[in-house]
Every structure is written in C-alpha cells, then in structure tokens.
C-alpha cells in the first residue's frame, strides 16, 4: 500500500514540475509577444518543449523502476534472511520475502515479526526510507537539470514547434516498436523455456515420442517417475480435431460465401453477413460449454443408437463445434476474394451462356482460388490455436488414434492443464508447456505467413 502512495507522490512530483516549467516557459514566450517581438513558434510550444523535457526523462526513470520494482525489492530484502529461514526451504523463503517486502515501510510490524531481530528490522526500515529519499531526489533533480538546460535554449528565434513535433514523433515510434517487442518477448520467452525443457527431455523424444504422460511421480522410485513427453499423440489429436472442424467449416463456409457473393441480393447480404459474424463473435468459452454439455452427449447417444462406442469427450463433438465457430472466418474472407474477382470475367462467362453455377465453378472459383486457399489456411491456424473449446470438450488422455469417435487431446489442452493450478517453475512438466507453445507458435506463424504471401501474390494479379 505504502509503495502505491510512493508512486502517487513520485507521479505528482513529476507532473507538478512539468506544469511549473510549462507555465514558466510559456510565460516567457508570451512576454516576447507582448513586447511585439517576432516569435518563431507559438508560446504554447515553448511551454510544451520545456515541460516535455522536464517530464519525460524522470518519467522513464520511474517506469523502469516500476518494471524492476520486485527485482529491486528482492535484492534489498535478500541479505535480511537469516540462516534459519534459508534452511527452511523455497516456499518459506518466498513467504518471508513477500512479508518483508509488504511490510518494509511498517516499522512496528517489522519489529514485531519473528523473522527479523530488532536491529535488522530498524536497518531494513532505514534502507526503505533511504531508498525512497534517493528515488524522490533523483526524480526531482533529473527534472530540474533537463528543465534548466532546455529553458536556457529558449529564444525568439527558437523553433520550439519543430522540436516538440520531433519529440512526439519519437514517442510514436517507441509505441510502434511495442508490436515488435511483443513478438520478441514471445519468441524469447518460448525459446528460453524450451531450451531449459530440452535439458530435461531429449529433443527427439519430444518430437518423435508416441507416449505422453507428463505426470511426474512423487517418489523417485515409482514407475514412470520421470514422465514421458512424446508429443506425437498431441499433434495427431490436434490434427484430428482440426480436420473434423475444417470438414464442417470449409464446405459450409465456402457455399455460404458463394451464395452471398453470387446469388444474394445486396439487401439480404446486408443482414445475413452480420448474423454469420455473430458466430465469430461468440466467446469460445461459450462454444466449449455448448460442446461439453449438449453436443458431446448428443453425439454419444447418436453413436449408441447406431451401435457404436463413442467417448463423451469425442473429437467429433469438439471438432464439430469448432467448425461452426470457424464458418464465418472462411465465409467472410472467401466472400471478399470472390467479390474481388473482376466483373468482366463473370460477365464474359455468363454472356457465353454458362449458368451461374458453371460460372462459379469454372471461372470465379479458379480465379479466386489463391485467396480461398489462404482463407482456409487462416481458418486452419485458428483451429489449431483454439483453446477453450478443446479444453472443455476434448479429453485429457493422449490417445494416438485417427478415430474421431474416440477422445483425443490437443496441444492447447495440454498447455492449459500443465500450467493451471499450483506449479513449481523448474519441473519438466511446466517447461513442456512452453515447448508445446513454441511448436504451436511456429506452426501458426508458418500458416499465417503462407496465407499472407498467397494473398499478396493474388492481389498483384488483379490490381
């Protein structure tokens, strides 16, 4: 709590100094105007120039402090752990550390706690106040230094507007690197943890192994104590469910797109399209619930009626519901590409006496094929990465089978089951989730890039 108050104090320090320098610089520029001197930039830009330089350096210091807040606090607190606590084990250490961090500002609770001697408590508390003083004073002095330097720059001829715009441009550029940073963050965190995973489990066992049971036993001597991490059943399970989903989404989506782009009147189109898009807008958790509660049992009882054994969590149920979810992705993209086929091609075919169906099959479809393929690729990548439907409606056991009536598990299901709940962070079990994540990321990335390349080539052909 006190640390939040400290944050508030720092922010107000920064912004008050920014406001002060703004009004000072603006006032000085105004003075020139009053004296009828030819000012190059408007007074407000003078103010903005100085105040931006006052605020931004200390604000970025504050942000970096915030980002590394827990690391810094950890570093401060660690020397205060007594031998007896360190010997107690990891959980205790974490607990004591978080206690010390949370109560660092509160001298009485530090003194009363059993973790610290009285002297240590006083010294830790002193360190907190010292650190606070250092942070506040460095924020203020940073602001002061930059405002003084920039204030000295101001003159009648000074082009404050251009400088301010350059600062803004730079900020915008920083924002635009966020996307790159995110990608880098994804790649690095996945690769880093995956490398750690492969120090536990060999790469070839992971890629080519056919047995997946990540439970590590409690005792060393138990059977299967190390767990086995052969990912083949997960990939086949993912493929099976994706195949079921696509066998529903591809025909329904494509025929819907053909109807919408070739047969429907513009008015019908206007209200059918949003209805289809609602299907894409429904949260996946809803589909998952629907699949687990309604479709799964329905498929099973249908199977029983036909004399087949069907698992309640069959790949068919999960895949079918996923297929419904994906219909709009297929239909709206392929609708767009089919509508983009030049009208001259269509009219030419119709003028030669072909029916609409023949035109679609022989002219429009081939012309739009690259776009349709990329729509399907994107839909497949959606299906592979889809999580909630399979978590709720597909199984947990990794069966190596191609039978859609049996229960299979997928990559995403395993990521969720490995990482939800209590976990220690160094076990092969949790690291395996990151290895699976890296596979998933790579596969979807390749599919997306392919789709993008195909679309780009296709666009070039008709533009």
């Amino acid at each position: 709590m006190t640390i939040n108050i400290d944050l508030l104090i720092s922010l107000s320090l920064i912004f008050v100094s920014g406001l002060l320098s703004f009004s000072l610089a603006k006032g000085r520029a105004r003075l020139h105007l009053v004296n009828d001197e030819p000012l190059r930039s408007m007074p407000i830009y003078h103010g903005l120039y100085v105040s931006l330089w006052t605020i931004l350096p200390s604000l970025s210091l504050l942000i970096s402090l915030l980002i590394f807040k827990s690391n810094i606090l950890n570093f401060v607190v660690t020397p205060y752990l007594s031998e007896s606590i360190i010997s107690l084990g990891l959980d205790e250490i974490i607990y004591v550390k978080s206690f010390l961090i949370n109560n660092i500002a509160n001298l009485t609770s530090l003194v009363e706690s059993e973790f610290l001697s009285k002297d240590m408590a006083y010294s830790l508390n002193e360190k907190y106040y010292l650190g606070r003083f250092i942070i506040f004073s460095s924020l203020v002095s940073l602001s002061l230094i930059f405002s003084l330097i920039t204030y000295r720059n101001l003159s009648i001829r000074f082009d404050a507007r251009r400088k301010v715009e350059a600062i803004f441009k730079f900020i915008f550029f920083l924002f635009s690197t966020m996307a790159v940073l995110t990608t880098i963050g994804i790649i690095f965190s996945l690769i880093f943890e995956t490398i750690r995973f492969f120090s536990h489990v060999s790469f070839f066992e992971f890629i080519f192994g056919t047995h997946w049971s990540p439970q590590t036993a409690i005792r060393e001597d138990q059977v299967g104590s190390s767990g086995s991490f052969g990912a083949i059943p997960l990939f086949t399970g993912t493929l099976l469910i994706t195949a079921v989903a696509m066998s529903i989404a591809a025909p329904l989506g494509l025929y819907s797109a053909i109807f919408l782009s070739q047969y429907a009147k513009p008015k019908t189109r206007d209200w059918i399209k949003p209805i289809l898009e609602i299907l894409a807008g429904i949260p996946t958790v809803v589909y998952g619930f629907f699949a687990a509660l309604t479709v799964g049992p329905f498929v099973r009882s249908c199977g029983e009626y036909l004399g087949l054994t069907v698992a309640t969590e069959s790949a068919l149920a999960a895949g079918a519901v996923m297929g419904v979810m994906i219909i709009p992705y297929v239909s709206s993209l392929s609708d767009d590409v089919m509508s983009a086929v030049p009208v001259s091609l269509r009219d030419g075919s119709l003028a030669l006496g072909a029916t609409k169906a023949e035109t679609v099959k022989k002219v429009i479809f081939p012309a739009a094929l690259p776009g349709i393929v990329s729509a399907l690729l994107l839909a497949i990548s959606r299906a592979i990465g889809e999580t909630m439907i399979v978590v709720m409606a597909a199984g947990l056991a990794a069966n190596l089978t191609a039978n859609p009536l049996s229960a299979v598990t997928t990559v995403t299901v395993q990521i969720v089951t490995l990482l939800v709940g209590d976990q220690e962070f160094d076990s092969a079990k949790t690291l395996a989730a990151f290895a699976l994540g890296l596979m998933l990321f790579t596969i979807t990335l390749v599919l997306n890039i392919f789709a993008m390349i195909i679309v780009r080539r296709y666009r070039e052909r008709y533009e």
Binding site: S189, F259, L279, G385, M392, L419
Partner: protein, 412 residues
C-alpha cells in the same frame, strides 16, 4: 438431346444455389440452437425456493457478542421443530442438509444489520441447497431408483411435507447477479467476475488505445518506408493471428516470472489482453486513417500546417468514429477471451469482489469455465445464465459499435 442437357444444367444450377442457401441456414440455425439451448437451460438460475423458518432469539441475552451467536443452531432448532417425530441424530443431520449451509451467514449478516431482532421471535426466509431447490423446480426424476438421484426417498417426503406446510416459497433470486462466487450453487453469482472483467478491460483500454492509435498514426503518416517499417508492419499482421493462448504463455513467462508481478490480478490480465488487442486497434485505426481522402491532408499542408498539425487537427478527428468502432470491437474480443487468463492464474476461486487492479480476481468468461467444470448440477443453470449474459453483453457492445459507425461515419 441438347434440350435434355439444358434441363440437366439448370437442375445443377438449382442444386448449387440450394447448397449455398442450406449452408447459410445451417450456420444461422446453429446460432439459434446455441442461444436457445442456453436460454432453456438457464431458466432455473433466476429463482430460488426458500423456506420460511421461525427463528426464536428470545432467550439470547442482548449483551452477548453478535458474532458469537450460534446461528446454525438456531436454524437447525427451528427446522427440527417442524419435524418433531425425527429423533435419530443421523436423520437430523440429513434433515439439516436440506437447507443451504450459507443460511447461517445470511442470518448473521441480517442480525448484524438489524440488531433489534435479538430478543425477538421472527420469520426468516432461508435458501434450500441446490439439490432440494432442483427438486422443487422439477428437475429430480423420482421414478429413478434411489441410488441414482441426489435426493433420496426420505428427503422427498420431507421436502413434500415442508411444501404442504405452505412454508416454501418460490422467489426470484438476484444472487446470480449480485453475489461473488461460492462453492454453494444456490448463492453463487457472477458479480465478482463481472467486476474483475471490467477492471481488466479498463486496464486493457488504458494501455492499448493510446499505444495502438499512436502506432497507427506513426506507421500511416510519419514512418519512412524502409526495412524497419516493413518489419514492424509484418509483425503487427502476424501478431493479429497468433493464438491467444500464446499471449498467456508470454504473460506467465515475462510479467509473472521475470518481472515478479503477482498472479491472478487484473493488472497482468489487462497487460496480456492489451498486447492481444493492440494489433486489432492498429489495423482498424490505419484503415480509418486511410479512408480520409488525401485532399483534406493536402489542403491542410497547403495552408501551412505541419505534418503533426495535419494529423491532429484534421485526419484524427475525421477518423475518430472508425477508430472508436475498431477499439470497441477489439475490446469486445478481449472481454470474451479466457485462455490467456487461465495461464496467468485468473482462474482461482475468488469469493470477494475485487476492488483494484492488484486484487485477485477472475473474469466473466473464466467464471463460466470454472462453473462448467463444477460437478454440482445446479451450476449448469448458473453457467448457462452467465453465458447468456456474456453473449448479450457482447452483442450489445458490438451493436453500439455499429450504431456509432453508422451515426458518426463521414461519407467522403
């Protein structure tokens, strides 16, 4: 010959058109099936059967601590007084399990709010447990063998007896909307999860809107065409198609493990969802900026405006409706997202209503997931109701976006 061929071709034509129509009807009817099955299953979630019990507090001394009163005992005594013939201890225990175990807390809260009831005899409505409640709602098939249902024959007799006393009332219940989560289905609600969702989405909005809009402005107006810009653009397009669960992994590895942020808090949830929403906002903002005709920009430049002034005085105001629409759609997607939140621990069982970005919280879609995983049958109704509310909210949000676009969109 050719006539026959002609007919055949036209039959094929009709068939082809029919396939298209059937596909659309099938897709649309799936939507109808999902919503109507949810609506049908949600019906029992909106009311609760309550039992009117006479609470006798006349021999409680008023100076005893309110928290120390044995509320559970009071409720039991009152319930047992309706069944004077039951003496057996285990039978009594079974009897007391007909009413919700949360009743004693509800009674306690009631007494704390109205201390004047101490020393008095009064009537108080208590909730039934989920199983008894479902029995009254007609969801227990008494023709099944006893071992296959949650309510056995004794309990059926007792519940029917209570009903014949006229003490059982069917009340519309606001628990679902106003309570936090609970292990007892009869008092569980999604208010806490909704607040958690709202806080998370607020964080998402605060972070992703400025970053997204400014990124789009930079790429659209200021960026020099070079390798770096190209790389950034490809990156954004790719990020838009990365599975959401990958963002969860990123949040877990970077925010929680590396930066040491706490688990289960809306701050981390908002961070993760904002990274996920960012590409959507950037892409829609760019297309909104592109749709402003170049003549506007050229006119402003010709009048001596700087690049920055062109953007902030002319392009941005004109593109704002489109930007808002894109942002709303992006946020709606984030609102319905649950997979990344599972990985950063927002799947915990949380009773308290979260009050800040650093309180443990869960989100509405995750609450649906948690309830769907619970074995109690009464949660099916709760889950369906929460699902309906979620879909309704999302359709509403999207409708607002569409209306906003229709109303403020500038036609050039």
């Amino acid at each position: 010959m050719s006539n026959q061929n002609f007919k055949k071709r036209h039959r094929a034509e009709k068939r082809f058109k029919a396939y298209g129509l059937i596909s659309i009807v099938a897709a649309a009817s799936m939507l109808a099936v999902i919503i109507s099955s949810m609506a049908y299953k949600a019906i029992p979630a909106f009311n609760n059967y309550t039992l009117n019990l006479e609470i006798d507090m006349s021999n409680q001394s008023s100076n005893s601590m309110i928290e120390d009163i044995n509320y559970r005992g009071l409720l039991r005594d009152s319930l047992f007084s309706l069944f004077p013939e039951i003496e057996d201890r285990s039978e009594k225990r079974k009897l007391s399990k007909l009413i919700s175990s949360s009743s004693s807390y509800i009674l306690q809260d009631f007494i704390i709010e109205n201390p004047s009831y101490i020393n008095k005899k009064f009537y108080f409505n208590v909730l039934f447990t989920d199983d008894s409640d479902l029995f009254y709602k007609g969801y227990v098939d008494t023709s099944l063998p006893e071992s296959e249902r949650r309510i056995d024959d004794d309990e059926v007799l007792w519940l029917e007896y209570l009903y014949s006393l006229g003490r059982v009332k069917n009340k519309i219940s606001s628990n679902l909307f106003l309570n936090g989560d609970s292990r007892e289905p009869e008092v569980a609600g999604f208010f806490g999860a909704t607040i958690g969702s709202l806080i998370t989405i607020f964080v998402t909005l605060i972070l992703s809107f400025p970053v997204g809009v400014f990124t789009a402005i930079y790429l659209e107006n200021f960026a020099v065409k070079n390798r770096l810009t190209d790389f950034i653009e490809v990156n954004i397009n790719n990020l838009a198609a990365v599975p959401s669960i990958i963002f969860g992994l990123l949040g877990l590895a970077v925010f929680i493990n590396f930066f040491g942020m706490p688990r289960s808090v809306p701050l981390v949830g908002g961070l993760v969802l904002s990274l996920m929403t960012l590409p959507t906002i950037i892409i829609t903002t760019r297309s909104a900026l592109q749709s402003v005709p170049p003549s506007i920009r050229e006119a402003a430049l010709a009048m001596g405006a700087s690049e920055m002034q062109v953007v902030f005085h002319h392009l941005l105001p004109a593109a704002l409706p489109g930007i808002f629409t894109g942002t709303i759609i992006g946020l709606a997607r984030a609102f319905g997202e649950s997979a990344p939140l599972l990985l950063i621990g927002m799947v915990a069982f949380i009773v308290d209503i979260p009050g800040s970005i650093s309180d443990p919280a869960t989100a509405l879609p995750v609450q649906i997931y948690i309830w769907a995983d619970s074995p109690e049958r009464a949660f099916v109704a709760k889950t369906s109701a929460a699902t309906l509310i979620l879909i309704g909210l999302l359709i509403l949000i999207n409708l607002v976006a569409v209306i906003l676009r229709k109303k403020y969109e500038v036609k050039w």
